[in-house]
């Protein structure tokens, strides 16, 4: 069995994000970069499937700048077997999905697991687009995964409004991981030492023969308006008046 997982390079959720001087992106200097937390969950799930199956291979893929090698090394340190980095600039979700399709066609995995979304742009599109382009079944936002004994299908529990939905998808299939699927392991020191000997293949996006012209252009980016200081009111009447005449919410 072969499992392909994604590892997008994103700013650490703890980082302070500022808009850059040209107003079309974020200030990247001084930011710490990590594996997209939902992709970490995807990697963990792939490793758990591998550990349960015994003879599975986990391939971790990143599409982005060459520095994304660091995120792939993290995936390898967690336990993935090998890594593929597709380098390219200014790739939107449609381009990433088309590139991912090429990698899937090359690798022929039984399952592709991605995070349900990346925490930088929160697009929540790549998994769905990739499944559509491949013509594969998809199970999105899953919180539990069970591979059938004959490995022909996967039972996926999805978190839907007001409850749980359990579906079965024939393999190969694409799965997107939600927050409660698992708790990712840490990269241990022995894992980190092993990771440096694992293969990491680099491919240029331009060599894959897909049109990566962005369909989305970011016109401008702005921080949320600064919050004004609150004030303490003396009475309920004053509060109601303020809510009516100033905040205009009543």
């Amino acid at each position: 069995m072969k499992i392909l997982v994604t590892a997008k390079r994103v700013p650490d959720p703890e980082s302070t994000i500022k808009v850059n001087s040209s107003g079309d992106g974020i200030e990247e200097a001084g930011i710490k970069w990590v594996v997209n937390p939902f992709d970490e969950i995807a990697i963990e799930e792939a490793l758990r499937v591998k550990e349960a199956q015994g003879d599975a291979e986990v391939v971790v893929v990143s599409i982005g700048p060459s520095e994304a090698q660091e995120q792939l090394r993290t995936g390898l340190a967690m336990g993935a077997d090998r890594a593929i980095l597709v380098t390219g600039e200014n790739l939107d979700t449609s381009a990433v999905a088309k590139i991912l399709v090429k990698i899937v066609e090359k690798e022929s995995p039984d399952i592709v697991i991605t995070g349900k979304q990346a925490i930088d742009d929160d697009s929540n599109e790549v998994g769905q687009m990739t499944a559509q382009l491949l013509g594969w079944p998809q199970a999105t936002f899953i919180s539990e995964l069970k591979i059938a004994d004959d490995k022909s299908s996967a039972e996926c529990t999805r978190e839907v409004d007001g409850g749980m939905e359990t579906i079965s998808v024939p393999l190969p299939a694409l799965i997107t991981a939600d927050l409660r699927l698992n708790e990712p392991r840490y990269a241990s020191l022995p894992g980190i030492m092993k990771a440096r000997k694992k293969p990491l293949e680099q491919i240029e996006a331009a060599s894959l023969g897909v049109d990566t012209t962005p369909k989305i252009v970011i016109k401008s980016m702005a921080p949320p308006p600064a919050r004004e200081a609150g004030r303490i009111v003396e009475s309920v009447d004053e509060l109601v008046t303020a809510l009516q005449s100033e905040a205009k919410v009543l």
Partner: protein, 392 residues
């Protein structure tokens, strides 16, 4: 500042800090308040590979070098110097000294259990009447009796003593010979005559259990002699060089965290209508804290790298001088930085709900343990005057 760490070392730093933040962050206050150590501490750390960072692979270690071991100590110490100290007493003092000095039989017998966290280790050098003067003032005796050495005496301020399974113990085998009559032994906790007489209450480092150990006619098999008979002083001094570097790294971690808290607080806390970070007296403190931390860090990392390639340490070597320099600077820097951090936080800084006071109480020990600041200065001056130069 680029400290020229490898990709693996950077990843190890990240992973160690993330692990400590998530696993220890929620319990550090309980550890401090109740002087409580989580029961699975050693096994959890072993699963991360943190008990055998610089131990050979065949004993379950990663052989990643002393700087890597120091980087782990630094990152863990950002969250809890106390729990880190217990891990260092186990991995560096106990495991490190056994790995560097014991024969294959003892290493095969004890190292795999220690590195995997199945066994908890400690080291016993200091005595109630012999602290800075440990080598001359040592009164614990080991008398040969057939196939065993019989230990009598007591050891004081022993980290992990209340929870340990075995202890590397120094004792006089030739009392007339002074430091040349000391030997090192591995003593198992369940040996008859081995007892931990009390758990000591401390001002800081709470959560790392410290005890007084008493040996009363405690028999130790002669096979458990570590290194040469009467050769204990070499084990002590070489071990202390490395221990001092690990303690220096712990100081960097606590100081780093105290500075991070101070920067954030200086941006948030408002007095006289503006953030306190806009006042020059706070700015001066922050600038000094950062500069001194980075100087201590550059020195400590450099000496860690030096120790990785040094043939031996101990008296008369550049490593002994430089390890003492690193810990002297790192520990005094850390007490100064944590002290400034409490001052910047004002009344809140002195309250138990804010973490800077814990770092301040914890890290003060590092000017006392592993040789006091005074002893460190004596060592550095001794080496300078011995060689007649500060070169080399």
């Amino acid at each position: 500042m680029n400290l020229e760490l490898s990709a693996e070392q950077l990843m190890l730093q990240d992973s160690a800090f993330k692990w400590a933040s998530e696993q220890w962050g929620p319990i550090v206050e309980k550890c401090d308040e109740e002087d409580w150590m989580p029961p699975d501490l050693f096994k959890q750390a072993a699963a991360m590979g943190f008990l055998g960072v610089s131990v050979e692979e065949r004993y379950g270690g990663s052989n990643a070098g002393l700087l890597a071991e120091g980087l782990v100590a630094e990152q863990l110490s950002r969250i809890s110097p106390a729990l880190t100290m217990s891990l260092i007493a186990h991995s560096n003092l106990c495991i490190g000294n056994i790995a560097n000095n014991a024969g294959d039989e003892l290493k095969d017998k004890y190292l795999p259990g220690l590195v995997s966290g199945q066994l908890i280790g400690a080291l016993g050098l200091t005595e109630p009447g012999a602290g800075s003067d440990a080598l001359y003032g040592m009164r614990t005796r080991a008398r040969k009796d057939g196939g065993v050495y019989v230990l009598n005496g007591s050891k004081m301020f022993i980290t992990n003593a209340p929870v340990c399974d075995l202890m590397l113990v120094y004792a006089k085998t030739d009392p007339e010979a002074g430091p040349r009559g000391i030997s090192a032994f591995i003593v198992e906790r369940n040996s008859p005559g081995f007892s931990v007489s009390r758990k000591i209450k401390k001002a800081g480092m709470r959560g790392s259990p410290t005890g007084e150990v008493v040996f009363e006619d405690c028999p130790v098999p002669e096979q458990n002699l570590v290194g040469q008979l009467n050769g204990g002083v070499a084990v002590v001094t070489r071990g202390l060089d490395v221990e001092r570097l690990m303690v220096a790294c712990m100081c960097l971690g606590a100081a780093h965290e105290a500075l991070e808290h101070s920067i954030r607080y200086s941006l948030e806390r408002k007095q006289f209508g503006k953030a306190i970070g806009e006042f020059q007296m706070i700015q001066a403190k922050l600038a000094d804290m950062y500069s001194q931390l980075q100087a201590a860090r550059a020195l400590t990392y450099t000496v860690c790298r030096q120790a990785e390639t040094a043939g031996r340490g101990g008296k008369g070597t550049a490593l002994t001088r430089d390890a003492a320099s690193a810990i002297l600077v790192a520990a005094e820097t850390a007490t100064r930085i944590t002290n400034h951090a409490v001052q910047i936080h004002g009344g809140y800084g002195y309250c138990l709900e804010y973490p800077v006071q814990r770092l301040w109480r914890d890290i003060k020990l590092m000017e006392i343990g592993a040789g006091t600041s005074e002893i460190r200065r004596m060592i550095i001056a001794r080496e300078l005057l011995r060689s007649g130069s500060c070169e080399g």
